[in-house]
């Protein structure tokens, strides 16, 4: 037997007793954080954010005037469309002789109202060596980065955004009597993984600036001509940006210099921990937002992102869909108009109702994009067949062979 379930179950029991203790502490912390938000004064917060710049070790977003306010669900237009895009990929398999990967992008166009209709589609794209599987530095062709893992995830996000841009453009061109359109993608618009230390600048330029943000800029251009809004939807968000702000509110010092004041204090016992440690934004929002309500708009404030995102700076709100607390992100240009936020709020709520807790357009886009285990195997078989038909022997690693054969 590979996994000793008896010993694992014992460890799970131990984990649960720890969680019970944690849960009661968390309730106290949540209460304190809610008190802090109730007494929030924007000028004081912004002033402290300014004076603590570079010293405060967390990344609070720019808070709105009333961060604890719940905004009621707005009315939804009679006629509107939703375009959902999602992707799936087959990563590079180092056990086969060719370093290729595949991205499958799924789209769902749903129109509601008098002319209700739907179009579902998927589009696979195979990336083949030598040029499509690496990112090269335009100033130094010998400087290459193999696309796989995190970078491949980012390339997939680019493909999804490009697909959404294309659909929104087509929608704008095709409709003589346009209706409001909401473009939705799954997951965050903030590609922080690309901005980690160690990722070369030419990769950021190629994937983030030209790719992802380029596609967002295309959508912005389309949106200038018609009522098109773009947003991303995050189910069960694990973000703690608002919590970072709560830490600042809880900090007793005029200047929040974390290292100076609390550098020697153990995690969990720092003054700010009493209102924040172990909490997520969604914990606070589930206490603040009524069903169907959204929070005010926050603006992400990651220094690393600010240099790249420009007009596309990420703003976000939380939404109590009735099923869960979700996070909805919009580029700043799209959330400038209150009407756009209301449209996204109303449409996402209605989509969640139709989809039993998750937006229908994203669910159907996912169904179009998903690559099943059997499809992955077929893909591998196809690669093998094509290679052998062209006289290239399909070799695999002994490790892969051993995993597949599993002999006694």
């Amino acid at each position: 037997m590979a996994l000793d379930l008896e010993r694992t179950a014992h460890q799970l029991d131990t984990m649960m007793s720890g969680l019970k203790d944690f849960s009661s502490v968390q309730t106290d912390r949540l209460g304190e954080s809610l008190n802090l938000l109730e007494g929030f004064v924007q000028e004081v917060f912004l002033g402290k954010l300014d004076t603590s710049s570079g010293l405060f070790q967390w990344t609070p977003p720019i808070f709105p005037e009333s961060p604890s306010k719940s905004i009621k669900e707005p009315s939804i237009p009679v006629d509107y469309s939703v375009v959902g895009v999602d992707g799936s990929h087959i990563d590079v398999n180092r056990h086969i002789p060719v370093d290729c990967f595949l991205i499958n992008t799924g789209s769902a166009y749903l129109r509601y109202g008098a002319a209700s209709e739907a179009h579902l589609s998927s589009s696979p794209k195979l990336f083949v060596p030598p040029d499509e599987t690496v990112i090269s530095d335009p100033n130094n062709p010998h400087q290459l980065l193999q696309i796989q893992g995190t970078i491949l995830g980012a390339i997939r996000a680019v493909k999804e955004m490009e697909t959404l841009a294309m659909h929104l453009k087509n929608e704008e061109l095709a409709n003589s009597e346009p209706v409001p359109v909401v473009g939705l993608v799954d997951g965050t618009l903030l590609l922080l993984d690309l901005l980690r230390p160690g990722i070369p600048d030419f990769v950021i330029d190629s994937v983030l600036t030209e790719g992802f943000l380029g596609a967002l800029n295309d959508i912005k251009k389309t949106a200038e001509k018609s009522e098109i809004v773009v947003a991303s939807y995050i189910s069960l968000p694990g973000s703690d940006e608002i919590i970072d702000g709560v830490r600042m509110l809880a900090c007793p010092y005029t200047k929040s210099d974390c290292l100076y004041h609390c550098g020697d204090i153990k995690k969990g016992t720092r003054p700010c921990d009493s209102a924040s440690e172990g909490l997520l934004d969604r914990d606070i929002m589930s206490s603040l937002l009524e069903e169907g309500g959204r929070s005010e708009l926050f603006k992400s404030n990651f220094h690393v992102a600010r240099n790249y995102y420009g007009d596309n700076e990420i703003t976000f709100f939380y939404l109590n869909t009735g099923y869960e607390i979700a996070r909805v992100e919009m580029p700043a240009w799209a959330s400038e108009k209150r009407g756009n936020i209301d449209l996204v709020h109303a449409v996402v709520m209605e989509q969640c109702r139709k989809g039993g807790g998750y937006p229908t357009a994203l669910m159907e886009a996912h169904e179009q994009a998903v690559i099943s285990t059997s499809d992955r195997q077929y893909f591998l078989n196809l690669v093998e067949e094509v290679l052998e038909r062209n006289g290239i022997e399909f070799t695999t690693s002994q490790k892969d062979r051993s995993k597949r054969l599993r002999w006694l």
Binding site: E117, A118, K354, G356, T360
Partner: protein, 201 residues
């Protein structure tokens, strides 16, 4: 509903499964299956004919079950208007018992040498074709003997369909009843059951 083919109005769908005795058609339009007992043909130049014996509508993806969506909606149509993706995710298929084929412009009322190809276009039949099968009824024995729970209903439905399509053929009902009587022999109970399903009008 999915868009019907206006260019080819008589085309209903395409063959997706096929064997010596029957073929299955996927309809272009959701709920677009012809009525039980309808004569259809599959293929272009030398079509294979069949009588609709079964139809069903389900999700395209067998792992996704439909769920109730209409609570709070005033009509069934609204369920589809409010969930337009359903028209793309549900599909209607129907099975057809093969009853004949055309070869060298001649319609033959027994099994063809081979069933229709997958993706053969399936279309409605013209009245001359319906008349050929209604007059012969050679295929009735294979429908009655097909061991389907709905065999008798299919037989009755074909006769109803033929009488409705060919109102000028005033003797069709009586001739069909006679033919059924000879096919069913002493099984008068079954014969009565089928005839009860074929009203006079």
């Amino acid at each position: 509903m999915s868009t019907p083919s206006y260019e080819y109005p008589f085309r209903i769908g395409e063959v997706i499964e096929s064997d010596t005795n029957e073929f299955t058609t996927q309809c272009y339009e959701l709920y677009g299956a012809p009525s039980l007992g309808t004569l259809v043909k599959a293929g272009e130049t030398e079509p294979v004919y069949g009588v609709v014996s079964y139809s069903h509508t389900s999700g395209l993806d067998p792992t996704r079950r439909p769920i109730a969506r209409g609570e709070g909606l005033a009509s069934e149509d609204l369920v589809y208007d409010e969930n337009p993706q359903l028209n793309r995710l549900l599909t209607t298929n129907f099975k057809t018992t093969i009853v004949g084929f055309k070869f060298s412009s001649q319609i033959t009322t027994y099994l063809p040498p081979r069933p229709p190809r997958i993706h053969s276009f399936v279309s409605q039949c013209e009245n001359t074709e319906i008349l050929t099968f209604a007059k012969s009824l050679d295929f009735m024995s294979s429908i009655l003997g097909a061991n389907l729970p709905q065999s008798d209903d299919v037989a009755a439905a074909f006769i109803r369909y033929a009488c409705q399509a060919l109102p000028e053929e005033t003797e069709l009902r009586v001739e069909s009843a006679k033919r059924l009587a000879s096919l069913l022999g002493n099984d008068t109970r079954r014969l009565e059951g089928i005839l009860r399903r074929i009203p006079n009008d």
